[in-house]
């Protein structure tokens, strides 16, 4: 399929789930979707279209918590970024890790650094932070404050 056919098929198939579609450039498309339909669309892109899951990225915006799932369709050189906006007070989304193994670790990382809950994740342990890190403190949030009173912020000796 060509680029136009893929995008047309994708947008018509998930017309109800897509909130916003931005054809950014020749190699890039941003699609904002409803958070509840991420598993449906993500597995469709991965399994049926044959896209490669590149990475997911999350950030703490002023009003929302945002996740971008980046899928690459290498045959037509197109990067589709699925954008979901979550409730900032209670960021929750269904896990793709239970369907596709590649999502497992990045979801663990997003949940420990930004406090996003992935419902149904097969292995919701921590990935990167150390064991003495306190529960409920998320370092990449805007309102993060230093919890470790022993930390030294000078340049050393």
């Amino acid at each position: 399929m060509t680029r136009e056919e893929v995008l047309l098929d994708f947008t018509s198939r998930f017309n109800e789930d897509i909130l916003d579609f931005e054809d950014k450039s020749n190699i890039r498309a941003y699609v904002r979707i409803k958070p509840e339909s991420i598993v449906k669309i993500g597995t469709y892109l991965f399994r049926n279209i044959g896209a490669r899951f590149n990475i997911a990225s999350a950030s703490d915006l002023p009003n929302n918590t945002e996740i971008l799932y980046h899928f690459i369709i290498e045959d037509i050189n197109l990067l589709i970024s699925l954008r979901v906006l979550l409730d900032k007070d209670k960021p929750e989304i269904e896990s793709l890790g239970k369907e596709i193994e590649a999502f497992n670790w990045i979801e663990r990382e997003m949940s420990e650094l930004l406090g996003i809950t992935f419902i149904g994740h097969p292995d919701p342990r921590r990935l990167l932070l150390s064991d003495d890190w306190p529960e409920g403190v998320y370092p990449l949030r805007q309102d993060y404050e230093e919890w470790d009173k022993t930390a030294d912020r000078t340049r050393g000796v």
Binding site: L128, S130, A151, D152, R155, G156
Partner: protein
């Protein structure tokens, strides 16, 4: 100079430890061991085990995960042992000074003998730093 220290300076065996660096300093450290720079001229040899090491080469900004390992390794080094901080991260934590994951600078965790600044330092700088260290320790009576 104690006999132990004198023996150490003839052929200091180095152990290379990365505490969460971006690997650039590690590449430069490994460059020193290649024939082009060849620190074996000074009798230095890279060891695989910390228990055979006389000099610790430390790179990276000491994040929370690696600090635990660093302390464990430092407890196993046969004393006397010299510590060399390679790169800006190990010397002063560089841009990671206020990072949530880097609570302490290296020299607040273990005593450091030589700082080699640079991001990354050139192999020549690393060699010069280590040779200066050997001279300094050798001249101290």
């Amino acid at each position: 100079m104690s006999l132990k220290l004198k023996a150490l300076l003839k052929s200091p065996w180095v152990f290379h430890l990365s505490t969460g660096s971006c690997n650039n300093c590690d590449i430069e450290t490994l460059d020193c061991l290649t024939p082009r720079f060849d620190i074996e001229r000074f009798g230095m040899l890279l060891t695989g085990s910390i228990k055979h090491a006389d000099v610790l080469l430390i790179t990276g900004s000491c994040n929370r995960m690696s600090v635990v390992r660093l302390k464990e390794l430092y407890a196993q080094v046969p004393q006397p042992c010299l510590v060399v901080a390679i790169g800006t991260c190990a010397a002063s934590r560089g841009i990671f000074k206020d990072s949530y994951n880097c609570p302490l600078p290296l020299d607040k965790i273990i005593p450091v003998d030589v700082y080699i600044p640079g991001c990354p330092p050139k192999p020549e700088a690393i060699i010069a730093g280590v040779v200066k260290l050997i001279e300094k320790v050798g001249s101290a009576k």
